[in-house]
């Protein structure tokens, strides 16, 4: 994947001001954005996904312009075709595991019913070991199952790239190692470009073909 970002974004909350300013380009297919909490990592991911909007600059992913203030381009988030795994997974509490994964396969005004069987969804339920909990609701799942459900929900839409926000932070250490291996394997099998943000140096080592380290809204080191 090629990623080109050149952005400024200022957040103002009462007296507090936060300024994110990044200029970076990479051709890596596995990117890790690394830094302490509060550095602006999640904001960067939200800007790429289109949830928030930069004050100026441009974002280009795989040759596709997602945002360009100069040319008035701002692809709406539903048109960016990205898979996003939120830090606390953001699973829909009113839908069971299968419905959650099916969610993005239907664009209509009604949610997929509990009886819908979509081959692609069944495939991911099997592949990620979720078949046994397909009829359970998010509140009934373990942390690891929730994480895999969020991953399946993103992957089943065949995203152009996968964005992951601290995917292992909510898990206990033993589980973290397992799920790191699983994500590593999946990414290589699917060959889907991936951008992962984490405060954990282990993630940067493992997934950072290219690493962007940010602190206080500014890039400190870049590789390559």
């Amino acid at each position: 994947m090629s990623l080109h970002i050149d952005i400024d974004k200022t957040l103002q909350n009462g007296e507090r001001r936060f300024h994110l300013q990044l200029h970076w380009q990479t051709d890596a297919r596995r990117i890790a954005v690394f830094g302490p909490s509060g550095a602006g990592k999640s904001l960067l991911l939200r800007l790429i996904a289109g949830i928030d909007r930069p004050d100026r600059g441009c974002i280009e992913l795989d040759g596709r312009v997602l945002y360009d203030a100069g040319h008035g381009i701002n692809l709406p988030m539903h048109a960016r075709g990205l898979g996003y795994v939120f830090q606390d997974y953001a699973l829909f509490p009113h839908l069971n595991t299968r419905q959650n994964i099916t969610f993005g396969r239907y664009r209509g005004l009604a949610n997929p019913s509990r009886r819908v069987r979509d081959p692609a969804v069944e495939h991911w339920l099997e592949r990620l070991g979720l078949a046994g909990v397909a009829d359970l609701y998010p509140a009934q799942l373990s942390g690891g199952q929730r994480q895999r459900t969020a991953l399946a929900r993103a992957l089943v839409t065949q995203p152009r790239a996968l964005l992951l926000d601290e995917p292992f932070a909510a898990l206990d250490p033993a589980l973290q190692a397992d799920l790191r291996d699983e994500l590593d394997r999946l990414q290589q099998q699917l060959d889907v470009p991936m951008l992962l943000i984490s405060h954990d140096p282990e993630d940067a080592r493992r997934f950072g073909e290219a690493v962007l380290e940010i602190r206080n809204g500014q890039a400190t080191t870049r590789t390559p």
Binding site: I51, H78, L95, R107, L109
Partner: protein, 224 residues
Amino acid sequence: MDAVLPVMLLSLKVALSATLLAGLSGVGVGLLLARARFPGRDLLDALLTLPMVLPPTVLGYYLLVLLGRNSLIGGWLQEHFGLSLIFTWQGAAIAAAAVAFPLVFKPARAAFEAVDPQLEQAARVLGLGAVAVFFRVTLPLAGRGILAGGLLGFARALGEFGATLMVAGSIPGQTQTLSIAIYEAVLAGQDALAANLVLITSMTCLAVLLAASWLAPARTGVLR
């Protein structure tokens, strides 16, 4: 009992129409107040809450001024459709809707404000448009709160007396609802009839309140 049934049916017709009216407008206004930022938002909320604290006669007076034959709206309806709301069951329904409105829009606003915006963002990133997100995520998650408010509004509309009497009067078989019939029965010394009507009204309202508390969001979470 012959005198009771028509009164009950009329009251149900008035209360259900009022709930529908207050429900649709209450959900719309609740959503607007929960999401839109505009100057005068608090003032608007306070104005719309007034029917809860104003004496029903004051509200009835306002409605007469608003809907009467010599008013702007009432005159227009009369002229173009030959419609008069005063002394009709439709007028009674509008009066009951006005009184029930705050009980519907307040819980609706709170329910919309309680929906985690991240869930809506997750749905957008998964490819859904804003309208689909509303019907598939926002509304189901706010559903319990809205339904509980609707039930409270229904109970209030069923018991409406003052504003209805001012707007629609007390025409037996046309605008004489349960609460007004009770008043008339007591005045006329028909104690048995009054007792019957009182009992029916109390039981109906109790059943509705039990249903509303069962639906209260804190108890069982979201609607599935």
